[in-house]
C-alpha cells in the first residue's frame, strides 16, 4: 500500500525544539503502529539550541555542557552537532520510506535535491558534495541534513540558513568538519522573504514526494 497522505504544520512563531521533537515522535509512533496513518511535515524555526546525533562526538561542542546559557539536545538522528536559531528554516519529515524507497542513501540524496531546487527557485546557485552530505555554496555550507529512522519511518530532516546569526556556529564545529564555514541565503538574494521560502519548501516537497495534504 502506497500512502501519500501527509499532515503539514507551518507555525508562524518560533517553536521550542522539544515540543516539535515530541510531535515528530508521536507521528512516527503512529506510523509504526499503522502505516495508513498520515506522513508528517513540519516547517518552521526554533529558538537558539544545539543538537547532537546519537553518535556525535562531544569534542565538536566548544562550550561546557554545564553552561546554562545553551540548550543542548541529543536526538535520534545521524551526523554531528548542529545549531538551530531564528532565521534558520527547519523542515522535518516523518515519512514512511516503505511507500517510497527503502534506501537511506536514496533518501539523503533526495533531500539534497529538494534543497537545491528550493535554493535555485530563489536564484541561489548551490550544489551537493560527495562525501559531505548537505548543500553547499562554493565551500560554504548553506543547508544541513540529519535523519533518524525506525522501521523505515524517518524523523528529523534538514535546515537552511536564511538570515540567521552565523556566529552561533562558532560555538561548535558544525557537522564535525574543521574550518567549515556556514552561509546565509540572504547574502545571495537580498530580497529573500522567509514566508515566501516556507511556501516554496512546501510546494517542492509536495511535488517531489507526491504528497496529498490532509487535515487531521
Amino acid at each position: 500500500m502506497v500512502n501519500r497522505t501527509a499532515i503539514i504544520k507551518q507555525p508562524d512563531k518560533i517553536s521550542f525544539f522539544n515540543d516539535v521533537y515530541k510531535l515528530q515522535k508521536q507521528y512516527q509512533e503512529a506510523l509504526i503502529l499503522d502505516d495508513s496513518n498520515p506522513n508528517f511535515i513540519w516547517i518552521g524555526e526554533h529558538q537558539l539550541c544545539y543538537t547532537l546525533g546519537k553518535g556525535s562526538n562531544y569534542d565538536n561542542l566548544l562550550f561546557s555542557l554545564n553552561d546554562d546559557k545553551y540548550d543542548v539536545f541529543k536526538i535520534d538522528r545521524g551526523g554531528e552537532v548542529t545549531c538551530h536559531m531564528p532565521g534558520q528554516l527547519v523542515t522535518y519529515l516523518v515519512l514512511d520510506l516503505k511507500s517510497f524507497n527503502k534506501d537511506l542513501n536514496w533518501y539523503l540524496r533526495k533531500i539534497e535535491e529538494i534543497i537545491i531546487k528550493i535554493l535555485k527557485f530563489f536564484n541561489v546557485d548551490c550544489h551537493s558534495r560527495e562525501g559531505f552530505t548537505g548543500v553547499w555554496i562554493g565551500n560554504k555550507k548553506i543547508a544541513s541534513i540529519g535523519i533518524g529512522c525506525k522501521r523505515w519511518i524517518t524523523i528529523n530532516g534538514f535546515s537552511i540558513n536564511l538570515d540567521c546569526e552565523l556566529e552561533n556556529f562558532n560555538k561548535i564545529i558544525p557537522c564535525g568538519i574543521e574550518n567549515c564555514h556556514m552561509a546565509n541565503m540572504i547574502d545571495y538574494n537580498k530580497n529573500l522573504n522567509i514566508e515566501e521560502v516556507k511556501k516554496i519548501v512546501k510546494k517542492i516537497i509536495q511535488e517531489e514526494f507526491n504528497f496529498e495534504f490532509v487535515s487531521k
Binding site: 522539544n18 521533537y21 515530541k22 515522535k25 547532537l52 546525533g53 546519537k54 553518535g55 562526538n57 562531544y58 569534542d59 555542557l65 554545564n66 543542548v72 539536545f73 541529543k74 536526538i75 535520534d76 538522528r77 545521524g78 551526523g79 534506501d103 537511506l104 542513501n105 536514496w106 533518501y107 539523503l108 552530505t133 548537505g134 541534513i145 540529519g146 535523519i147 533518524g148 529512522c149 525506525k150 522501521r151
Partner: protein
Amino acid sequence: MSHEIFMPALSSTMTEGKIVEWLKNPGDKVERGESVLVVESDKADMDVESFQDGYLAAVLMPAGSTAPVGETIGLIVENEDEIASVQEQNKGNQTEVSTSDQLELVSNKIEEKSVVQTENIKKEEVVLKSEKPAPSFKSDQISAATSNVSSRIIASPRAKKLASQMGVDLAKVHGSGPHGRIQADDILKANGQPVSIPWIGESGSPASIPSVNVKVESKPETSGNSFGKPGETVQFNTLQKAVNKNMESSLDVPCFRVGYSIETDKLDNFYKKVKQNGVTMTALLVKAVAKILKKHPQVNSSFSENGISYPENINIAVAVAMEDGGLITPVLKEPCNSDLFELSREWKDLVKRSRSKQLEPDEYSTGTFTLSNLGMFGVDRFDAILPPGTGAILAIASSKPTVVANSDGSISVKKIMQVNLTADHRVIYGADGASFLKDLAFLIENEPETLVS
C-alpha cells in the same frame, strides 16, 4: 539456540555501518520488534530491531565500532538460561560490555541535572559527557572468542543457502572468513567441488580462446550452474524476477537478426600489446561499438509511443551474469569520451561492484545499446534477447582460427569472430543493422589501434 543480529543494509550502496549505541545490555529481555541498537551510515541513523522475543546474550561489536554489512554484531537467545553459556563462549567481550555499563551510569547521573519535560525525551537528552564513546574493540579478542565456539556457527547467508542446497553440515565446515565465519567457498570445498571463480562475463578475449577451450573440454562438469537440488523447485530471486520481466517484454517487440563474421587477427595483436596496460577486451569491444554507433545513430535509437527516440548519449550496457542467478547490465557511459585505459578501469570497477551488488540504478539502467559476450566459453554463435527500452543488442561469440577463401583464390587461416545483432524492426531496419556491422567489421579488421583514444 542463539540468533545472530547482523549489520543491516540501510541502502543499496552501503558497505559498512557504524554502531552508534546499544539500546539493550547483555542479559536484557528483548521483544520482537523492539529496538536493540542504533546504526549510522552517512547522516542517517536507523534503529535495528529484534526479530524475535528473547534475551540479548552478547554484544560482539561495541558502540563506536564499524562493521561490514551482514557481519554478526550481536546474539539473541530464546531462553534466559542460555545467556550464560553464550556469554561464556564470548568471554572476550565482557570487559567491553562493562565499559558501556559505566557510560550508562555516567549519563544517568547527568540526566538528573537536566531540565526536561517528559520521561521519554529525558532519556534522549544528554547534557554532559566526560568520556568518549566506548573504546575501539580489539579484533584479536573477537577472533579468539568466536573461534573457540563449537556450538555456535557463523556463516554467510549465501554459505547457509548453499549448505542447505548441497546437504552440507555447517558444523563440520571450517570457516575461512573473518573470525572463522563460514563462506560460500568453504561449503563448496566441503562438498568436494572446486571453488569456482564467479562466471562474470569479463575476460571475453578472443585471443585467449584456445586456452579457455582446453579448460572447458577438460572439466566441463565444473562449470554448470544450479540453484537447487534435483527434484526441487527454487523460487526466483529478485534479480531473476527482474530479468524474467525484461525478457518477457521483448515478446512484444518485432525483432530481426543480422550476423557478420569479423576477422580479429589485428585486434588480437593489438589487444596483446595493450593488455599489459590493464586494457580489457570488453573495453576494446565497447569502444569499437560506441565509435561506430556515433556514425549510425539509427542503431542507437529506440521505439517510443511518440516515434523514434534518439538518446542524447551513447551508453553501452554489457551483460554480466551473476554468480547466484540473474544478470545485470553495467553501463559504460559515453565510451567515446574516455580513453581505452580509463574505460578499462571503469569497467573493472563496475564488474567488481556488480559482484557485490553495489551499483547505483543509473549505472545499470541507462544503456542505449547492449553487448552480450559469450566468447570466453568458446561458443561460435548465439543470438541475444533485446532489453526493453533499447533498439539493439549485439551478441559476440568467440574468435576461432578458420580456413578462409580469399578473393584472389588463395586460402589462409584467419581468426574469425561471429557477431549477431538483434534489433527492433520498428526503428532499425535490416540495412541499418547491416551497414553498422560492415563499419564495425572494417574498424576491428583494419584500424584497431584507433580505439586507444
